[in-house]
Each structure stands twice: as C-alpha cells, then as structure tokens.
Amino acid sequence: MADSPSDGAQIIEVTFNQQQYVIIEKLKAEGQFGRTDEEIVRNIFLEFLRQEGV
C-alpha cells in the first residue's frame, strides 16, 4: 500500500456516483487499500498507474 504523499501534496477532488461508490465500499470491507475513501481511491489509482507502467 502506498504512503501518503509527503512532497508538495495537492488535493484533487474526484467524484464517484452511488453506483461507482460500491467499489470503494467493497474495498473498504476488504481492508487492503486503506480505511477511508481518500486512502482507497488514492491507493488503487497508484496501483493502476503502476500496472499501466506510468
């Protein structure tokens, strides 16, 4: 799981509708990617970047 950013952190407001939010709830129950909405979205997005090779 990635840490919180330490250098020059910027906040991006990302919207999820109630149907997309099901994903976050499922991952919250799983526990692997954090406990809060922010942690989960950040961590799976960073996983996405890693898998994409960005």
Partner: protein, 310 residues
Amino acid sequence: MLQYGPLKTEVLLQPVSGKALPVLRGEVIRIIQEEGGQCVDFNAFNLHDYKEYLGVSNTRSRNAFRVKKGDIIWSVSSRDRPMFVILEIAETCRTDLLGGRCRASLFDRRGYGLHTNCQDTLSAAIGEYDLTPDDVHDSLNLWMNTEWDSVGRYFTLQNTGRKGDYVDLLATIDTLSVAAPCGSGDLGWTSNFALRPIRVQVFEAADETLARVKEIERQNTGFKGQRTPDEFKVNKIKADRELRRNQSYVPEFVNYPIINKSIRVPLSTDELAKTNQLVSAGLGRDAAEVIRIGAILWYMRNREPGRRSR
C-alpha cells in the same frame, strides 16, 4: 459428448416450412442439414410465458456476433436468463446474430413478388400456439455465412453446411422452439441459390443433460435484473392495441437520481505529473476524471468476478 435421453420427436421440414416444438428443460433439440447448404432460422419462447423469448441482442452482447460451442443463448433483457447452451455445433456452421430474419417485402421490392421468407414461415409455425406475426423475433441464424466490412456493411458468403452436419441446443428452461429453413436462400448465397429441407430431432432429458442445466443455472442465475413478471411494476399484458397514457403512472427508475460524492484525493507532485500524462494521452479530460477512470479500471481488472479480459 453428453449422454442425451431417447429420441422424443423427429420432423423433416420441407422447404419452406417450420415447426414449433416443445423442448423442455434438460432436453436437446438437434437441427440437421438434410442435404447441406441450407440456412436455418431459429426462434424460441418460454413455454409458460411467451413474453420471454430468445434475446438475439442479449446473446450477441454477452457472447459475440457469432455464437459457438459452449455459449449460452439468453432470453430477452427483461428476463435475462439462459434458455439454451450450444452443446455441439458442426465446424461448418457459421452462426449469425446480426441478420434478424428475411421478410417478404425484401423480395417484392426486387421484383420477385410474394417470395418465401422467414418472417412468414415462423409466423405460420407459431400460429399453432396462437402466437401472432408480431411475436416472431429476430432469429438465431444457423449456417448463415455472413460477414461485415470495416464500415459495417453486411453481406452473405457461400453457405458452408454439409449433409449431416448438426447443431445441438440444450434447453435450460421449458421452451417452444421453432426451426425453419430460411426462405431467402434460392435468391442468394444464404443457401447457395436453393431451398432445401432440414431435419429436427428432440431428445429427452437425461441425468447428464440435467446436471449441465443445473451447473448453468448455478453460474448464471440469481442476479439482480433477472426478473419474473411478479417483479414488474406493470405486469399485465395489454389486451388491446391502442396505446393510451396512464395518468396515474409514476415511473420508478433505477438508482434515480444519480448522486455524486466528492472524495479529496492527495497526490504528490510526481504522482500528479504522471496523472497529467494520462490526461495528455486522452484517458480523461482532467486529473480528477483520470483518477476516477483509473480507479474503476483497476477494480474491474483486479476484483470483478468472472470478468473477461478486455
């Protein structure tokens, strides 16, 4: 190959005729090329509720433009249940889920007058069960060697069916199944400029076929949206033809209204730079959209059950 039960029904369909046959859960309908080279149109209905019928677009979107051995044939999206599974299919049998069915006007406009066609053949066959021409639906087309080009133009190539080739469909619900030799084939490659008979057999259920049905049910039923009429807000079949507005009706749309929740996602300078690379590449309009799309794509690829890789 699964062990089927004994032969229950056998009919030889001369060109151009059709027959509606009950094919019950666990039974197998075999459609055979009597001489070869004949396109076959196939319709099917839930035997106990004709409003549930074979869903060509549902089957297409769940499988491909063509179905193959092992694929499930689904009912219409309002019910969304497996109706059949393709147990066996000759390698010469090109299947088609794009062409719908031919109808008389296609030929009359070309100067042939009233010509045989699948809309009318299927109508005549299902009339035995008091169904009307409006109840004929787009066909699962068998031995229909169609192609399309890069701009979507659709055309038919030579029929590849050989004498004795067959397709076996295992019914996963009680059905009224209707097979018909396509009536257009004497004026094109659909059936190589000829009209030929087909043979249809129905085999009774057996332990192995019923076990396969149960396996399909276990894997493909019980999901939201696989509704029965009891769950419909409007579930009475209209008995008249005129459409009139119901003044008291209030629609109930799914998950309406759509509500957005905002989540504040912290990114480092380096992470934001990578995100903006994806904005530049066109993944989303801005960093927020890229994060949402990326997060959802990650979930789909890594957590969705049974998702095909795309």
